[in-house]
Symmetry: C2
Amino acid sequence: LPAPTVLIGVDWGTSNLRALRIADGGEVQAERADPRGAGGLDPADFAAVLADLAGDWLEEGPPVLVCGMAGARGRWREAPYCPCPASLDEVANALVQPEPGRDIWIVPGVAVMDETGLRDVMRGEETQILGLFGEGESGLAVTPGTHSKWATVEDGRLTGFRTFMTGDLFAAVRRDTILGQDMGEPGVDGAAFRRGVVRGLADRALTAALFSVRVETLGGRLEPRGAADYLSGLLIGAEIAAQPHRDRPVVLVGAEALAGRYATALDLAGFARVERADASVAVARGLWRIWRARR
Amino acid sequence: LPAPTVLIGVDWGTSNLRALRIADGGEVQAERADPRGAGGLDPADFAAVLADLAGDWLEEGPPVLVCGMAGARGRWREAPYCPCPASLDEVANALVQPEPGRDIWIVPGVAVMDETGLRDVMRGEETQILGLFGEGESGLAVTPGTHSKWATVEDGRLTGFRTFMTGDLFAAVRRDTILGQDMGEPGVDGAAFRRGVVRGLADRALTAALFSVRVETLGGRLEPRGAADYLSGLLIGAEIAAQPHRDRPVVLVGAEALAGRYATALDLAGFARVERADASVAVARGLWRIWRARR
């Protein structure tokens, strides 16, 4: 017998959303995806999109907990950033209710602040990270993607993070620079990917290192079919080169293909302890833990 | 009385070309521009485009010397790269004749090579640089643009250089990443540009530093109207951060607006001696010197 649903979770990204039926303990019972990301919606649209995607799940009146860009300014309703260090309790007690009278809540994002103000921001990844690290646990979490985050957790608190625009930059370089001419898809030439990583780890001048995609092709050392892999490796290598703590255990969150590429790159960079986690599992467990911790 | 024309020079870039009537000594008598860059032409097109743009100049039969992408593989006719260090004589004696029997010659590009092969390439900038530095002269030349080059000249020989994709990346980031949303034109907020330079000089993790365009705007420290200037500063700062020799004199070649931005950034980086040179003057003088040096 499946455990009864205790929570409907929603991970509402900029360009898509996922709805999750979550049981006690944080287990995912069912999952649905939709392309209507928060980036294209007005505040009044969100409730209707949710009803459209998961109306049948909402009939019995379970609470709904939403993380991600639905809480950004100008979207469903702004949920102001919690400053780092942010504990589970602090995040859980800053939930925002977008539809008065309905049992729907938005998880705030988390921000790194200094004396001059905002230094970095996340919305959504905090939920994954708080799902991965329990009370008293410490480590490094990496969420590869359009905007990769490297976050440190100490004693179950999210103490700091930094954002790298690796995926966003990969797509832009491929679509819109001289390097993208005739460039295929990544994922076909593992050796080219590894050579890119090694170059990205070693060469701190990224705007110059990028030109090596062209020079390596001109010089015949890189096959055109491997250029996208080399570029991906270069950008991931540059991201990893900025990380000082290679002896710390890392939890890598994300989809198979991309996380696999990061695992290869982390290995080349000398990270000895790398664990993989599924993003849906992490977000469901994070939502459940936040829900349970609210007062 | 104007000096008699001794040479028709052509600087044939990827996306446009300039034709120059050059007098003895390298002085520019007249200049014409055209959007038919080498990137969009087949080998058979070049002679016709040149006749169309400067047919009247060719009537008296002056020699024609072409630098730039017309000599790239698959264009008018390939002029193989001269390896660094490259002297005026070496470049002048590697000219290639694209139309048998006609007095038209293409200047080869220059390449940095190592034991494994090609490390970097230029086509066109070598002519500007050989125009700027006479026999026995030394210095650093910077040609800002889509693909900026930093070149060292020792005793009149081009001894090495490195390419930075600064302009290409600026355009791609602006057109195609989250940072470009609502981003205007650069050149309106000098303070934002200087803050970007300082950040780019200090922060070696460029893919993370780029995300500061977003965070600075979210945090209210950067006005949206200054975001393009801040981004431009960040990328130029990152380019300059990679340069080890800040005590050397620099010659900055290029159009007023962009060279002015580089001059500001070089000043912030501590380069004490920066001289400006006009690109047309440099290329005309380079073509004339190469023509005179051929055997």
